[in-house]
């Protein structure tokens, strides 16, 4: 397509969705996943659909291609697709298994999904999966198909396309897999690209690259992009227009400037507010007096190393201290060894060298790394863990009271005192004690994480290791959870080791932060210092890749890139 031509049809509407309603019949009645949603998609423009989990944004996207999972079905409304030659089709009227809608899928409207690993077949070569759309829609020869796939792989910047084409998905990293997905979506030059949380499962730096790529391809192909996300930072970085959804309904729709700087709707305001809140340090932490630097540390880790049997050195000579009442943030990308390090502190993994000196309540110190099994049992009562996945870390066959009571029972508590303590703990984390007989599935994600916290603080620990404790939560719940953790910290004098990949969460609650990269701590210091004046290039790259929730200051496009190999070389070998 020539530039002049794309100029003239700049504002042309490709897809017009009007009063879309998609319902799921359930045993208890009709669940209205999408309830009267309307929007337009224009050529070359990006519409972001935002909302919390369960808001119906994903079902909206799937309704367009009629690939809603059973038993969902489009109940009413229209989805008008306008082609380049002026012909129009109402996709909502087509038969979901019919030939017509299949001709639209992948050819005119393509889609990429959240989890690039499970959204691609593990037993088919990526070349075959990318080229499949070409075979279905154009029936071109194997040879031409391969040529086109190689060209697509080059477009999405996958290194060495000639060998990559015959590889399988599990041989790629998460970011590369998402590039494969994008190549697959672009195969037939679609007019519309629907991206359903395409960067949620990725690290911030990888996310920045994928967002860049999508933007670049959108420009060169003149596509309309429907981008679904729950991350307001991403919205601010890429959106032209925004659609805010809540419980299947559109709360607000407008240009990105208006949504961020002059939101009309209360829900939107709340959403923006909870994002902006996480852009600063928590208020309760601004006024708190500093912990004196000469306080004897609660946890003093020196030269900790841990190598997996595969030979991977996950933790490499890590030293850090945690003072009483302090929160130490550990930040890094996936694979940086931060989770492994956290687990080494509790001896879930056996570190091979170093010391982990833990100061007991009576003032004596004990080395966790060499502690015997009975000493370890005692230490683990004072040092506890909160996990990332609030679903997987709670037994589905136990009631909430049983889950919370477990560490107390192990400590020898029983009968009436146990019941009272459970009720007290539930109140402390903001759960109704009357819910004690319910099972975890009856709770929402945020409430489940509260159960996990109640379990962790049950035996009055002194140190809690929180591994990505808020990553699975929606942004509005995230700040609530952090506030709860800080409240408990002040009440109980707790210390936290807070492991996260999310810099805003670290900035919000941590006193000090350590940045991990490939098993090593590359930088550590006061949070303000590290965030505002990073000393290491990797920290700078990490910070600059974080989407900025302000559409007036889009920055990931001009982010700083860190290249470990280049940093190690005194002079770059090639540009």
């Amino acid at each position: 397509m020539t530039p002049e031509k794309s100029m003239t049809i700049e504002n042309e509407t490709i897809l017009k969705v009007d009063d879309l309603r998609t319902y799921f019949p359930t045993r208890t009645g009709l669940f209205k996943a999408v309830d009267g949603v309307s929007f337009d998609l224009k050529r070359g423009k990006t519409l972001c659909v935002v909302g919390e989990s369960g808001s119906g944004k994903s079902v909206t996207a799937r309704s367009i291609l009629q690939i809603v999972d059973k038993p969902g079905r489009i109940e009413g409304g229209s989805i008008l697709l306008t082609r380049a030659d002026g012909s129009t089709t109402d996709l909502a009227k087509l038969d979901a298994r019919g030939k017509e809608i299949r001709g639209v899928r992948g050819k005119e409207i393509a889609m990429i999904f959240q989890e690039p690993m499970s959204s691609l077949s593990p037993v088919h070569r990526i070349g075959a999966q990318i080229g499949e759309g070409l075979r279905i829609h154009f029936g071109i020869s194997k040879k031409d198909q391969r040529e086109r796939v190689l060209e697509l792989l080059r477009q999405v910047e996958i290194p060495r396309p000639e060998t990559a084409i015959d590889r399988y998905t599990f041989e790629f990293s998460g970011g590369m897999r998402q590039r494969v997905m994008i190549a697959m979506a672009l195969a037939c030059n679609p007019q519309v690209l629907i991206a359903d949380e395409p960067t949620t499962a990725l690290d911030v730096t990888t996310q920045a690259e994928i967002l860049d790529l999508i933007r670049r391809l959108q420009k060169s192909h003149g596509m309309a992009v429907l981008f679904i996300t729950h991350d307001m930072g991403v919205v601010a970085e890429i959106a032209d227009e925004v659609l805010v959804m809540y419980r299947g309904k559109v709360m607000e729709r407008g240009p990105v400037e208006q949504i961020f700087h002059a939101p009309q709707d209360d829900y939107t305001r709340g959403l923006i507010g909870s994002v902006v809140k996480l852009e600063r340090k928590a208020e309760v932490r601004l006024t708190r007096p500093d912990i004196p630097a000469d306080t004897p540390p609660l946890l003093d880790v020196k030269n900790l190393s841990m190598t997996f049997p595969s030979g991977l050195k996950a933790v490499d000579d890590v030293s850090l201290i945690v003072r009483p009442g302090e929160t130490l943030g550990i930040v890094g990308e996936s694979g940086s060894g931060k989770t492994t390090m956290g687990r080494c502190l509790l001896r879930i993994y056996e570190p091979e060298s170093g010391t982990i000196d833990f100061r007991r309540a009576d003032g004596s110190t004990v080395d966790v790394r060499t502690a015997g099994s009975s000493a370890l049992k005692d230490i683990r009562r004072e040092m506890r863990m909160i996990f990332q996945d609030p679903v997987g870390s709670l037994s589905p066959r136990k009631t909430v009271a049983q889950i919370i009571a477990e560490p107390l029972k192990l400590a020898g508590m029983k009968g009436r005192t146990l019941d009272d303590r459970v009720a007290e703990l539930m109140q402390q984390v903001g759960l109704e004690p009357a819910w004690r007989e319910r099972y975890p599935h009856a709770f929402s994600g945020g409430q489940r994480q509260r159960i996990g916290i109640a379990r962790a603080i049950a035996v009055n620990p002194r140190l809690i290791i929180a591994d990505e404790a808020t990553s699975a939560l929606d942004v509005s719940l995230r700040s609530q959870m952090l506030d709860l953790m800080m409240k408990l910290q002040d009440e109980m004098g707790l210390s936290y080791v807070f492991i996260s990949h999310d810099m805003s969460v670290i900035r919000y609650m941590c006193d000090r932060v350590a940045v991990m990269y490939r098993g090593k701590i590359v930088e550590a210091g006061d949070t303000d210092q590290v965030v505002n004046h990073p000393a290491h290039d990797y920290t700078r790259a990490l910070l600059s890749a974080i989407p900025n929730p302000d559409p007036r200051d889009r920055r990931i496009h001009n982010r700083f890139r860190y290249d470990a190999a280049a940093a190690a070389r005194p002079v770059p070998a090639n540009g």
Partner: protein
């Protein structure tokens, strides 16, 4: 891939060794030996046997020696000369008795396996895709019905039906005139005319397990995100089904091959006795009853070898079909 194969073969050796010992011990477990069985037989027919004769026979068969010496002699004979020993009861070398029958056993097993897979996979697919429909329920019901019916009863009913209603000769794998004939086109046709009935009878029993495995696998796969991805490419539902979920659902099925093969062979014993098939099953049963230890031991050993080969084949097939196993 070659290294993987070599490794698997090396691992098979200690397994076989252990199996041979266990087989030998199990055969020795019942009180007495072949001669006590023989004497009891003679006594029941009113014959009296002199003590000297018994001792002489015991010495001749080596039964007076400790068990481990007997085992050593047997296993050394197999390893050194491929000599599996002599069948006491039939007075012939075990090898001679087994080979012909083993061929038929294997052929029958393979045919049964093909039959079961060819029937179970489509039925499994159908009942997964149309979950909780009439066809799902009827397929499941039939599969479980055949699982529940004892195979000898199935064999008897099938034979009765065939001979009473269709007047076909049943039992055996050949008509009388072809039993001892050499292979010819006519014999092949005759074989084909006979073999399908035992294949169906043996196969129906193991059908249910495979249908259910296929159904459960496919139900898991059908809800995977890659199915949605493929659908979003514009693929037709049928092509999608065969190309993606079915392809992945087959992998766990392939790994069942390892235990399906021995199950078919052991399930065949009773059916073979009822339908008088010239396979190893009836021979093994007779050898065990008579405590004919070399014959029984050799048969158990061979069946174990088949099991190990079956597992090996399924491992190789799995490595071929699933790159995750091949490359990781």
């Amino acid at each position: 891939m070659l290294r993987f194969l070599a490794k698997r073969l090396v691992f098979a050796i200690p397994t076989l060794f252990a199996v041979s010992i266990i087989a030998f011990i199990i055969i020795q477990l019942p009180p007495g030996d072949y001669l006590t069985t023989l004497l009891a037989d003679w006594a029941s027919q009113g014959g009296a046997v002199e003590e000297g004769t018994v001792a002489a026979m015991r010495e001749r068969y080596g039964l007076d020696q400790p068990v481990y010496i007997q085992y050593y002699k047997w296993i050394a004979g197999i390893l050194m000369h491929g000599d599996f020993g002599i069948s006491f009861e039939l007075g012939k070398p075990v090898t001679e008795l087994i080979w012909g029958r083993l061929g038929f056993s294997l052929l029958l097993s393979l045919l049964t396996l093909c039959f079961v897979w060819a029937v179970a996979i489509p039925i499994g697919i159908l009942s997964a895709v149309r979950q909780y429909s009439i066809s799902d329920y009827s397929a499941t019901f039939l599969a479980f019905f055949f699982l529940a019916v004892p195979d000898f009863l199935m064999a008897l009913s099938a034979m009765y039906l065939m001979s009473a209603w269709f007047g076909q000769s049943v039992g055996g794998l050949f008509s009388a005139e072809y039993v001892d004939a050499s292979w010819s086109f006519g014999r092949l046709v005759d074989f084909a005319g006979h073999v399908w009935l035992p294949v169906i009878v043996i196969g129906l029993g193991s059908l249910a397990a495979l249908v259910r495995i296929m159904r459960a696998n496919l139900l898991d796969e059908l809800s995977k995100p890659y199915v949605t991805t493929a659908r979003a490419k514009g693929m037709s539902e049928f092509e999608l089904l065969i190309r993606y979920p079915v392809r992945l659902a087959l992998n766990p099925l392939i790994s069942t091959l390892g235990w399906i093969l021995p199950a078919v062979i052991s399930g065949e014993i009773i059916v073979s006795v009822v339908m008088s098939l010239p396979t190893t099953g009836p021979l093994l049963l007779r050898a065990l009853l008579a405590q004919d230890m070399y014959l029984a031991g050799s048969l158990i050993l061979l069946i174990s070898v088949l099991t190990i080969i079956g597992t090996l084949i399924s491992d190789i097939l799995l490595a071929l079909t699933d790159p995750r196993i091949r490359l990781q």
